[in-house]
C-alpha cells in the first residue's frame, strides 16, 4: 500500500518570481500598446520621445553605478530563487498509508499529550522543526525529578508514528 505521490513540499520561490515576471510582461505590453494607440485617437502624446530626449547625453555617474549595483542585487536574488530547492513541509508517518503531518501538528499533539500528564501544570512548544521538536513543560513542585523521564518515555510512545529522524525532547521546569 505504498503511495507514489510526490512528497509534499512548499511552493518554489521561482513560481512567485515567475508569476510576477508574467504580470510585469503583461502590464508592459498593455502600456506599450496604449502608448501607440492613444496619440492616434486622443490628444495624448506618446511618452517615448520625451523619454529618449531625457536619456540623450546621459553620462556614467555615481548614480548609474548605484543603479547598476541595485540591478545586480535583484538579478542575484532571482538566480537564487531559481536554484533554491523547495522546502519539505511535512513528516511522513510510519504507516502503510501515504500519511503526512506537519511538524507544527506533531508539536501540537506532543504539547496536548504532555499537558494531560499527571503533575504537569503547563506545556508549550519551544522549538518546532522537522528534525527536532522541543516541548517545554512546567511541573508541579511536589513531583519527583524522575517524573520528567517518565513523561519523556510516555511522549515517545505516543508519538512513535513520527519518523525516526524526528526527535521529541522535553524541557522540564518546576513550577514556582
Amino acid at each position: 500500500m505504498t503511495g507514489r505521490a510526490a512528497e509534499p513540499r512548499r511552493r518554489a520561490a521561482a513560481t512567485t518570481v515567475s508569476f510576477l515576471l508574467s504580470l510585469a510582461l503583461g502590464v508592459a505590453g498593455v502600456l506599450l500598446a496604449l502608448d501607440a494607440v492613444l496619440p492616434a485617437t486622443t490628444a495624448h502624446d506618446s511618452a517615448l520621445p520625451p523619454l529618449l530626449a531625457d536619456l540623450d547625453g546621459l553620462t556614467a555617474s555615481a548614480a548609474t553605478t548605484a543603479a547598476g549595483a541595485g540591478v545586480v542585487l535583484v538579478g542575484a536574488v532571482l538566480v537564487l530563487s531559481a536554484l533554491v530547492p523547495r522546502r519539505r513541509t511535512h513528516l511522513r508517518l510510519r504507516s502503510e498509508a501515504d500519511a503526512w503531518i506537519t511538524p507544527r501538528a506533531a508539536a501540537a499533539l506532543a504539547v496536548r499529550s504532555a499537558s494531560r500528564h499527571p503533575g504537569v501544570v503547563g506545556a508549550d512548544a519551544e522549538r518546532i522543526a522537522r528534525r527536532r521538536i522541543v516541548v517545554g513543560v512546567t511541573r508541579d513542585s511536589e513531583r519527583s525529578d524522575d517524573a520528567a523521564d517518565v513523561l519523556q518515555e510516555s511522549l515517545r510512545a505516543e508519538l512513535a508514528r513520527l519518523p525516526a529522524t524526528t526527535t521529541v525532547e522535553v524541557r522540564s521546569r518546576v513550577a514556582p
Binding site: G29, G70, A160
Partner: protein, 194 residues
Amino acid sequence: MSGRCLSSRAAALAAGLLLVLAGLALVDWRQGVVLSTGGRVRTGTVAGLVDATWWPWAQGAGGLALALLGLLWLASHRPRRSLREVPVGSSDRTGTVVLALDGVARALCEQVEASGTTTEARAGFHRAHGRLVGVLEARLSEDADLDGVVAAAEEATRDLRRALPGDAADLQLRWRAPRTRRPARSRRATVRLE
C-alpha cells in the same frame, strides 16, 4: 519536478542572469574595466525611428504581442484543476463507465472526519506519471492521536483501492495542526483605583 516548476525556474534563472549582466554593464560603464565604452548615451538614431510613420503600428503590435504573451504566461500559473471523472475497468466498446471523482473525494473526506481525528478535510484528484493520485488535506481535531490518524489514513486508502481496483490509484493524506482557539474576551473590565 513538475514541468510547471521547471519552466518557472528557467524563467527566473534567465531573468536573473539578464539582470545581473545588465547591472554589471551599468557598473562597468563608469569603471571601464571590461567594456571601455565610456562616453555619453546617444538616442538620436532611435528617436529617428520613433518619428517614422510606421512606428506606432510596430509599437502597438509589439505591445499587443507582449501583453498576450504575459497573459498566457500568467494563465499558466492558475491552480491545477482537480480531475472530475475517471473511466473504470468495466468500460468496453459498447460504452464507457466513468466514476465521478467529486463523490469519491467527498466520501473520503466524510470518512476521515468521522474517525474523530480530523476536521476541515478536502480532497482532489490529479494524474501524475500516468497514475491517478488523490490528495486529502485536513486539519487534526483537538483530541486526535497519531494511532487514530494512521488508522484513518489506512482505512481511507483501502477504501479507495476498493473503489478503484487494480492498483490504479494512490492516496496521499496530509494533516495540519489543529486550529488554535483564541481566548474568549472577557466582558469584565478591571479598574484600579488609587
